[in-house]
Symmetry: D2
Amino acid sequence: MVIVMQVTATDAQIKQVVNRIHSAGLKTFVSSDQSPVIIGLIGDKRMIATMPVEALDGVEKVIPITESYKLASRKFHPDATVIDVDGVKIGGGNVVVMAGPCAVESREQLLEAAALVKEGGAQFLRGGAYKPRTSPYSFQGLEIKGLEYLAEAREATGLKIVTEVTEVTAVDAVAEYADMLQIGARNMQNFQLLKAVGRAGKPVLLKRGIAATINEWLHAAEYILNEGNYDVIMCERGIRTFEEYTRNTLDLSAVGAIKQLSHLPIIVDPSHGTGRWKLVKSMSLAALAAGADGLMIEVHPNPAEALSDGPQSLNPENYQNLMQAVEQMTEFMAKLQ
Amino acid sequence: MVIVMQVTATDAQIKQVVNRIHSAGLKTFVSSDQSPVIIGLIGDKRMIATMPVEALDGVEKVIPITESYKLASRKFHPDATVIDVDGVKIGGGNVVVMAGPCAVESREQLLEAAALVKEGGAQFLRGGAYKPRTSPYSFQGLEIKGLEYLAEAREATGLKIVTEVTEVTAVDAVAEYADMLQIGARNMQNFQLLKAVGRAGKPVLLKRGIAATINEWLHAAEYILNEGNYDVIMCERGIRTFEEYTRNTLDLSAVGAIKQLSHLPIIVDPSHGTGRWKLVKSMSLAALAAGADGLMIEVHPNPAEALSDGPQSLNPENYQNLMQAVEQMTEFMAKLQ
Amino acid sequence: MVIVMQVTATDAQIKQVVNRIHSAGLKTFVSSDQSPVIIGLIGDKRMIATMPVEALDGVEKVIPITESYKLASRKFHPDATVIDVDGVKIGGGNVVVMAGPCAVESREQLLEAAALVKEGGAQFLRGGAYKPRTSPYSFQGLEIKGLEYLAEAREATGLKIVTEVTEVTAVDAVAEYADMLQIGARNMQNFQLLKAVGRAGKPVLLKRGIAATINEWLHAAEYILNEGNYDVIMCERGIRTFEEYTRNTLDLSAVGAIKQLSHLPIIVDPSHGTGRWKLVKSMSLAALAAGADGLMIEVHPNPAEALSDGPQSLNPENYQNLMQAVEQMTEFMAKLQ
Amino acid sequence: MVIVMQVTATDAQIKQVVNRIHSAGLKTFVSSDQSPVIIGLIGDKRMIATMPVEALDGVEKVIPITESYKLASRKFHPDATVIDVDGVKIGGGNVVVMAGPCAVESREQLLEAAALVKEGGAQFLRGGAYKPRTSPYSFQGLEIKGLEYLAEAREATGLKIVTEVTEVTAVDAVAEYADMLQIGARNMQNFQLLKAVGRAGKPVLLKRGIAATINEWLHAAEYILNEGNYDVIMCERGIRTFEEYTRNTLDLSAVGAIKQLSHLPIIVDPSHGTGRWKLVKSMSLAALAAGADGLMIEVHPNPAEALSDGPQSLNPENYQNLMQAVEQMTEFMAKLQ
């Protein structure tokens, strides 16, 4: 942390700031020969991060220098993490596709979707049994029944299951049925839930909040890692901006940023990211070209009948077409590097 | 809902859309003499809101027309709601101030703050016992111990207590100690928590999410109202924008917007809204001039020692100065109308 | 400027950065006893601001410390600037109202509007003769004819004239007719235009760009001041955010921020800021309560016939009602301080 | 345009709206059997777009349905536009790379950069002779001298020249030296400048404004097309969001969106889009995978000495490495389709 004093700060004010820091057991360096005076803090980073020095007299502003996440940081874990979900590897060059409907709507719909997803070559089946919805009057999901259908679809196809958990009290149930627990964008800073999935013994897919900075997102991952669960996959799914043509603005720069800052794998969800199925293929290819470790894709046997997110779901034909292109792009990227 | 067909849509595609709507028991009107063709939906609004027609062939875009919240809407409740918290009224011209430290740090700190808050003339003491924090290494709150201190402060001063609840499993405990339950910005779309506080039998202060539209915010209120709890107070606390000088951008237009769209009271939190104590007074006065039903203010006996949000907390002197101005502004606004 | 080196930076890399700075005639201080190493730059601020050190090996990030604007800064001009427009004072406690239609549409419309504006008590008549419009097919303004009508309205009413100039080649013409030149939001970083109005010998009203930070806005003012024109008035008119209920998000915190950072007066335009005439009164009062030096208001004799921005224009009755409230708020605020 | 009336609108109010529309020579359709009543407008789109009906009594909101740009629209020009710059084709499957320094700094720097750019295989040399800068104290460009160096570099290498023009009075001079005129992000809505380059007889590269919607961007293109210049290339260069890790958020979904909405080619500038040279390669590949018609890349013989934007410039080695990958990706994408 670096403290910038006001141009008009007095010697007494500077001394007060320095004393305050020393009293907390930290050391300082002071650049007294320039205006404004700058004071640096030296010592334990976690202690430094919690010093409320901005409220002291004469302080102009406080500039944080080091990030306070550690377990998620690439600095301390230079090698990319590879997550093994019963034989399916994610990260370190292993590209994975998770596909399926937005919501589990019925046994028939899910089994039909699962067969389709399997045929296309994806490794994971996605589908929500617990659906967070803006309106209390929208379809809220089949809950336990939905989990059972997901388990049945796994039996039928061999696909791994990834599904969202939205509350602490449902973590055990979802962990019993699913191979991977998904934290949705709205819950990225639901810290109790993050801690709970950190203790659930299953890999976690952590979606980025719609207004979360990359820094906050990595801190959310840190909550999970801090509970002893190192199998965390980041998922970029678009951020909220002023643009209205797309539902969100898919931030593909986040792929490279996460790779630089962290050792965790990152996949991309172009379905939620754009909200338009006609943009899903081009953004899927772009995500892989940017270096993403995989994709999460909405596909529905019949999008026009979907109970949620129909406009962004691929129909069977477009899904198969996408998967062929994904396969070729994955091969190409493997050779390019 | 209005469906705009593509300029190139065929008669068969138009017919398919109309049939799809009719099969759901809804009626349509079709403007066939203009290009593009426009199809309107008539019938139950909740059903209309869930029709995934955007995925049908030939559809250009779908435009929602009516909001799907109802209990929170002014259309159905023209009179302003007045909430009575054991004799303290909020809304309908009754202005309230909630003040106190960001976090309950110790018994001494809280009792000192409570005496200060009382002396200034506020009606509510605020203070977090459960603190949602970006980093797992930051101070997370005293939890039950903090609630006990809050209750003790109420005994000592007669102030009402408002404090945040961050998880479903803590709702009962917080409801036992507090007079009002606060839902923080990060939990505005934690729907399980909204339902839980909707059943807790205590008034709820609902903070706006940092990236929540006014429409989404009112839907979040609808979740609480839908459980039978009509004592909901909205709290504007700033939205996330590109501006960096302030911690958030306080959206005071939301005050007038909520008053037009809803019957619920709305208060403003300029401390979180700006992140700078030097802006708190001017934005407090502005909030009241905009028609807000109250303020939530961070005050700390010694901001430079605060464990969180020191830079935005008022010290005792500035708090007293603010309260005098607030009193005068409240009187002025009462006469103006 | 402070340079933060990478944790893994070598001594050679640190030395290279230091040498690069010294070779530019600047001095450094280096905190070598902490990780990461921090290098501060000492010397001429303008030179420091242009050092591309971020591209050097081993540099993690570069943090600017001092703003590079100087003439607009309060640090160097502690007293508030008061601008005198032929007897009408702005700033330093003098509140001004500029009102009128968005666009000059005809002689009759403008003269009618001017009489109305005068009667309500405003000091300035606003109205666009040159209209920047998103679409080339929208009404673009009456240009010179519009300026002549404005001059005629001044003759008839004694109101001062403020009107927008959108191109360098029109500056002389607009300066000949108007008492104050307005730079619109879209042109806030049209640097040639800023320089031109800086040399035009008339006060300038500088609107904030829809995506401009306060820092960039003050730099835009610096372009005008740097040409020798010190009569610059800032105008907050809303920034672009994700919120859709209002046309823009009016950032009233900018009022206090500009007052802290700069000596220049600042007024607020709630008409463009909200895009809804029903929010204009509450946000006008809020702006004055926040400390604004004035208001810019859209009023039209018949908003339903307006060629542009009808939805945000006040009709005569609402304008008179607003002006009465503004007068009372101005008196109240003068007594409060 | 569709008008949604208030739920409480009276028959008289509905009739007034209808009459107002009819008096302008437009037709209506009214859905009188639902609440709220909806009124559609039929007739000339440009006239419809300028009707200020939102200000009429009883109107809840107005929803635009058709875009008001026409020349830029794909609806009226289904085939992709291919622009031929003296033999170098852009669009319709022809991928182009424009590379060079941010600013022309000196004859030596530019000639060295040009040789490097040519060797890597790009077709265009970029470099600013007129530099729009936030601060008046930053380097503003060599102006005419810079244009002469660019022309000399073209002689020496055969590269085409693209360079920014920032003011109407400089259009002729820049058009004399350059093969393509660039409109920078800050000038995207400098309408006089758009009209001037529309008449200059040279292809135009139109960068997206940092807060411009895709819709506004296409309207800006419409200004140029409307002057008779059909050789317009769109350039996505990042939008302003809350994310701070990158300088801007590169919106690659805009590539697919522009392709759907318009026939104009679109290229991507990952250097400004990310502000970090370490992200340039991955985002370049992503842009091509998304379907972009080309790239604009900042490269500098010695980024650490650059007078502007050093942190985002590639050095010679990284540029050559990028160009090899770009060539392979271009080949791959050509085969994929």
